[in-house]
């Protein structure tokens, strides 16, 4: 099996974009292709993550449509949808394809519009997001995605004493990181008081515990050795990718605070990379809500189970902490254009591993981990990147 590397990365600002999806995506794709030194004719395949273009914009069969728009018509194009883990799944398949030699160079992309620029307001978009919960046994209760993570986090608070202040500290950290990221949707700091004063969305989460609705696009160029040799981009090694699922609906999960799919995906990724949690220097993880970051740092083995809240409040996951988590600002501050999120995590890690992350650079980062979760943690994909040796 060949090795895989990320040779080019690009992304748009996350925020509000009033452009058609093809135009929005082109901005990220060209940046990634230029960063890789990849002309259109060296791209062998295109793997797209888009979670809900059919529901939000009446736009499906998007992979070849976007490929056409950027001059790639002809090559195999595939769209993946796995809720919020959508473009990580596209990335995983691209890594597998280049490892196998099926393709040498694959463009992986993600694009989504979720803001009112789509013409849809909060209740409609909330319903569309909820389509990733169980159609028969969860959606009809009125459960929303803040509600899904509200259920998981409320249980965590009960079992481990996690507090609303702990959660708020995560929002404060990620907002602070976001001020150092010009592409982040939120460029302002916040405070624990401001978080706790914001209105409840789904308890225990208040508005400032929640990621925003976002538009945006991201792209990465993945290659094997043969492919990378034809490119000029500074490569970062893909050391491991894990992908696991858990029982759906959530009431049937064995343990509501474990996010078991994250534990299983992390084990696979750590094993492939031949490392453990202590070897990771920088983490981009799926903080769709502050409580999700608590669950994730525990599932990834970065802190002991039950310690996610206090460890976050102590600053262990801050940019200058023991293990920096979400230097980009995370979904919380950077934004969460659903299908673009997974590939954008890879973009951020690559910039750190290249030493190109500017003010928010994690010093001497040589190993990065991305954790991208779909649905109620029904899907998790964990990717480990390393400085090329």
């Amino acid at each position: 099996m060949e090795g895989a590397s990320v040779v080019g990365v690009g992304m748009t600002d996350f925020g509000v974009h009033d452009q058609p999806l093809p135009e929005l995506f082109a901005d990220a794709a060209f940046e990634a292709m230029d960063d890789a030194g990849a002309d259109a004719d060296v791209i062998d395949a295109f793997y797209l993550g888009n979670a809900m273009g059919g529901q939000t914009e009446s736009d499906t069969h998007l992979a070849p449509t976007l490929a056409s728009h950027i001059g790639l018509a002809g090559i195999p194009c595939s769209r993946f949808e796995d809720a919020c883990a959508t473009s990580s799944n596209a990335f995983k398949h691209a890594v597998e394809a280049v490892r196998a030699g099926t393709h040498d160079v694959v463009l992986v992309g993600g694009v989504e519009r979720c803001t009112p620029s789509t013409g849809l307001e909060t209740p409609e978009m909330t319903a569309i997001f909820a389509s990733a919960s169980h159609r028969q046994y969860e959606q009809p209760t009125g459960l929303t995605f803040p509600g899904v993570f509200g259920l998981l986090t409320t249980r965590h608070m009960h079992e481990h004493g996690t507090t609303e202040e702990h959660l708020a500290e995560i929002a404060v950290k990620n907002h602070a990181n976001g001020t150092l990221n010009s592409r982040a949707q939120f460029g302002k700091e916040t405070t624990v008081e401001a978080v706790l004063d914001s209105p409840v969305v789904a308890s225990p989460f208040r508005l400032l515990d929640c990621c925003p609705f976002s538009d945006g696009a991201s792209a990465v160029v993945v290659a094997n050795a043969a492919g990378a040799s034809t490119l000029t981009g500074d490569p970062v090694t893909v050391a491991g990718v894990g992908h696991a699922t858990d029982v759906i609906p959530l009431a049937e999960k064995a343990d509501l605070t474990a996010t078991q799919s994250a534990r299983d995906a992390a084990s696979q990724a750590y094993e492939q990379a031949g490392i453990g949690p202590a070897d990771v220097d920088v983490v981009e993880l799926h903080d769709c809500f502050t409580g999700a970051e608590v669950l994730a740092i525990e599932a990834l083995g970065l802190v002991e189970d039950g310690e996610g809240g206090p460890a976050s409040a102590r600053g262990e996951t801050a940019l200058d902490g023991r293990i920096p988590v979400n230097p980009s600002g995370g979904l919380k501050a950077k934004g969460h254009p659903i299908g673009a999120t997974g590939a954008a995590q890879i973009v951020e890690l690559v910039e750190h591993l290249r030493g190109e992350a500017g003010e928010r650079q994690v010093e001497d980062a040589s190993t990065g981990l991305a954790h991208n979760l779909g649905g109620d943690a029904g899907t998790t994909i964990v990717s480990i990147l390393e400085v090329a040796r």
Binding site: T126, P140, T141, G142, T144, G150, P249, A251, E252, A254
Partner: protein
């Protein structure tokens, strides 16, 4: 067990409207689920016995939804109810009233928005 005997969403819904909560017990590993599956989520076995579940249970976790999807009016609670069966069955339901984690609640009603789901209080 034949396919015809497999607990379906239709039959589960009908029972729920009659105040009964049907579940399934795995003949291999004894896992009990409170919403219909075609195979056991724990072990993959297809031999599932349809059983009546308790209509009371303990609040395992809950959330109050203040920003709701279309079709719902915000300001309601959704909970996971632990039915205290040997096989560990839990169900997601609407929760009326003030019960917190650990409190006992009863199946008292159904909510029918597109589908039928249990209401505990």
């Amino acid at each position: 067990m034949t396919v015809d005997e497999r607990l379906t969403h239709a039959r589960w819904t009908e029972a729920l409207r009659d105040g009964r909560l049907l579940g399934q017990r795995c003949s291999e590993c004894d896992t009990v689920t409170a919403t219909p599956e075609a195979a056991c989520p724990a072990c993959g076995a297809r031999g599932l016995e349809t059983i009546d579940l308790p209509t009371s249970g303990i609040v395992h976790t809950a959330t109050t939804i203040e920003v709701s999807p279309t079709e719902f009016d915000a300001g309601y609670r959704v909970a996971v109810i632990d039915l205290e069966t040997d096989g560990g069955a839990r169900v997601t339901a609407r929760l009326e009233g003030e019960a917190s984690i650990g409190d006992r609640v009863e199946l008292t009603d159904v909510l029918e928005v597109r589908e039928t789901v249990p209401v505990f209080s």
